[in-house]
């Protein structure tokens, strides 16, 4: 009997154990799925790193944009003169640290209205370049006064801020160049003044930062080069694209031959608004008594006083170099920086005034094709001022093509020999970039998620990381100033500038004379 009870108890205990075991198993029932998850995650990770390492076998880019050392407080202070203070002049002055109080006020206001607008705090953080403005010159009284106020706003304050004493206003740039308390000048005058002003400044021993294009005519181009070299001044041409981080990466990618043989480069300008077409506002206080018209005209053909011509000078060949000088030059200089193109052998152009029939003489639609037979490649420039359709900037090689903006993407070409094996094996997808560079991102990654691609393309990524945006014009001016201090050549020096000017002139002549234009490299002449 007792045995029976014992047996029963044992049976019961075993039942309870069984039950408990069952309960425990039920509690842990999903654990194997967690295991399966981590096994799958491991496999996925392994696959991704296989893809990545297979791609990185092909693509090795490490280079960063050169880091410019911070300007030290005990570095030599450089004394500047500002020549020309219309639209670009104030932008350059701001990049050097001198903003008009009203501009600061507008930044403060928009920062208050929109907390995402970081331009004000970014501007306050912009490095002090240890420069001072001792003289300014502009032929329009209002612009001249703006220049003085900007130069005196050394504490980067709004309208209620305290200004330093005004720098001297010179009535002519020649008088400014005679000043002993000016070491270097920033020139932001109309195109037809770039050459003469740079020549005179160089002859006066002043270092020069000049806006693009280098010159308005071909003959003065040689004069500028001679003056800059003979006087041994530090010259920087205003192509701030030289500081764009993605261009450094692009250059490295090309040097490492990721694209294969490059035979075609396509660069474009796409604008569609009056401002983009140089129809700038006319200042209400502008009249013959506030503008020194004769000084504006300079070497240009005589013309009666015209507010339109004064403020919208880019629309007339009389003062301008049109699309070639204003916008083609940026594109060309970027490609020259990346591919060391040099001057093309030939140029042909076509286009016309198709949309802005406002009396202008320069075309609003222009296409120029440059041939480089020695390099076996063509560079095609296509511009319109009447459509915003973005056509980008593409370098096309046999194995891959590169799309270049503030980001840089390289896509394998479906007909590539080099990548064929990997394309066939499915390692490379020709619809996705095999290499993608986004400024501000730390490491190079060949595999990025589609979402990330979308955000990168819209410039939404990393813009606010650390709350900083880098202003390339500031870096470009800094590059120039550091070179003055160390007697070095800046990134867009006179040799690069010569290539830029001649190339742009070839395009312009081809358009104006409706013919194929040649460059005689031996004689260094356009024929």
């Amino acid at each position: 009997m007792s045995e029976n009870i014992e047996n029963k108890n044992i049976q019961k205990n075993e039942d309870t154990k069984k039950l408990n075991r069952r309960e425990v198993l039920k509690g842990l029932a999903t654990l194997p799925v967690v295991g399966a998850f981590f096994y799958s995650l491991y496999k996925k990770k392994q696959y991704d790193s296989f893809l990545k390492s297979s791609l990185l076998e092909e693509i090795k880019i490490s280079g960063e944009a050169p880091v410019m050392p911070k300007t030290t407080a005990n570095s030599k202070q450089i004394r500047l003169g500002l020549i020309g203070f219309g639209i670009r002049g104030p932008q350059l002055a701001r990049s050097a640290g001198f903003a008009h109080p009203e501009y600061i006020e507008s930044l403060q206001k928009s920062a208050m209205e929109n907390s995402n607008d970081k331009r004000y705090s970014n501007y306050l953080e912009q490095e002090d370049l240890n420069v001072v403005v001792n003289g300014i010159c502009d032929v329009f009284d209002v612009h001249a006064e703006n220049a003085q106020k900007a130069a005196a706003n050394i504490n980067r304050e709004g309208k209620s801020g305290k200004l330093a004493s005004f720098p001297k206003r010179y009535k002519t740039y020649k008088e400014l160049l005679k000043a002993d308390d000016i070491d270097a000048v920033i020139i932001a005058s109309p195109d037809h003044w770039h050459g003469p002003m740079t020549i005179d400044a160089a002859n006066a021993g002043k270092h020069v930062y000049c806006e693009k294009p280098l010159t308005w005519t071909v003959p003065e181009t040689y004069e500028v080069v001679r003056a800059v070299k003979e006087n041994n001044i530090v010259f920087q041409l205003g192509h701030q694209g030289r500081q764009t981080e993605s261009y450094f990466k692009a250059k490295e990618a090309i040097e490492n031959d990721f694209l294969g043989k490059v035979s075609l480069i396509e660069v474009t300008t796409n604008r569609n608004d009056p401002n983009g077409a140089w129809v700038y506002p006319i200042h209400p206080d502008a009249n013959p008594s506030t503008i020194d018209w004769q000084q504006f005209i300079g070497q240009a053909p005589q013309h009666e006083f015209s507010l339109e011509r004064f403020f919208r000078w880019r629309c007339w060949w009389d003062y301008s170099t049109g699309l070639s000088g204003d916008l083609l030059t940026h594109e060309y200089d970027a490609m020259n920086q990346i591919l060391n193109l040099g001057i093309p052998q030939t140029a042909v152009s076509s286009g016309g005034i198709y949309y802005f029939k406002d009396g202008r003489t320069v075309p609003d639609v222009l296409h120029t094709v440059f041939e480089y037979p020695e390099k076996d490649l063509t560079m095609m420039y296509s511009a319109t001022l009447a459509s915003n359709k973005r056509r980008g900037r593409v370098i096309m090689g046999h194995d891959a093509y590169m799309e270049l903006g503030s980001t840089m993407n390289i896509y394998a070409d479906s007909g590539s020999d080099r990548y064929r094996d990997k394309i066939e094996k499915g390692i490379i997808d020709t619809n996705l970039p095999i290499y993608s560079f986004v400024p501000g991102r730390k490491d190079v990654d060949a595999v990025t998620s589609p979402t990330e691609q979308y955000f990168a393309g819209r410039g939404l990524l990393y813009t606010y990381r650390g709350g900083k945006r880098v202003n390339t014009t500031h870096l470009h001016i800094k590059d120039w100033l550091e070179c003055i201090r160390e007697n070095r050549q800046p990134s867009c020096n006179i040799d690069e500038a010569f290539d830029e000017a001649i190339t742009a002139h070839m395009g312009t002549i081809a358009f104006k004379e409706n013919r194929k234009v040649f460059w005689d490299a031996d004689k260094q002449q356009i024929i």
Partner: protein, 160 residues
């Protein structure tokens, strides 16, 4: 969870399957972010539209709040995912999951006239998969299963 609901085996199994599937999704989304050193919610937040977009953009524009949002999002997804899969602290996991999904939905509501940079894999009008996943979690909250299948069985032993 005032009283233990009586399910048939099939009902209980499918509730657990649904819980585990949603948990898997959360867990993987969390790990994708954790394993990508470049991941940040900044692009997603700045892409926000609708009546709460100002709130999400403010988070994105401040590096400190962005870091907090990134951290909570990444580790929140992982914790919720593990909670759902293992049936561990499931009520907390479900409520957190619903909150997180509500943020995703409200930052990118598929309302008429709102456009996003972020690509979608389907076509949505007001109802999208985030909303469906959110309500699936609501259902799981109302039909708990973790004290029958899950670690909550041991955690809440005394009560059951």
């Amino acid at each position: 969870m005032k009283k233990t609901l009586q399910y048939s085996n099939a009902q209980l199994s499918m509730l657990v399957v649904l819980r585990v599937l949603i948990g898997w999704h959360f867990l993987y989304e969390g790990f994708v972010k954790l394993l990508n050193p470049n991941w940040s919610s900044v692009g997603y937040l700045l892409d926000s539209e609708g009546f709460l977009s100002g709130f999400f953009e403010t988070i994105a524009s401040n590096p400190n709040s962005l870091a907090v949002a990134d951290f909570l999002n990444m580790w929140g997804l992982i914790a919720i995912g593990l909670g759902l899969m293992l049936g561990c602290l499931t009520r907390v996991a479900i409520i957190s999951g619903i909150t997180l999904l509500a943020f995703y939905y409200l930052s990118h509501p598929p309302f008429i006239g709102l456009k996003y940079a972020m690509p979608t894999e389907g076509s949505y009008l007001i109802v999208n998969k985030i909303l469906i996943e959110l309500f699936a979690l609501v259902v799981l909250y109302l039909f708990p299963s973790s004290r029958q299948i899950g670690l909550d069985k041991f955690l809440f032993k005394a009560k059951s």
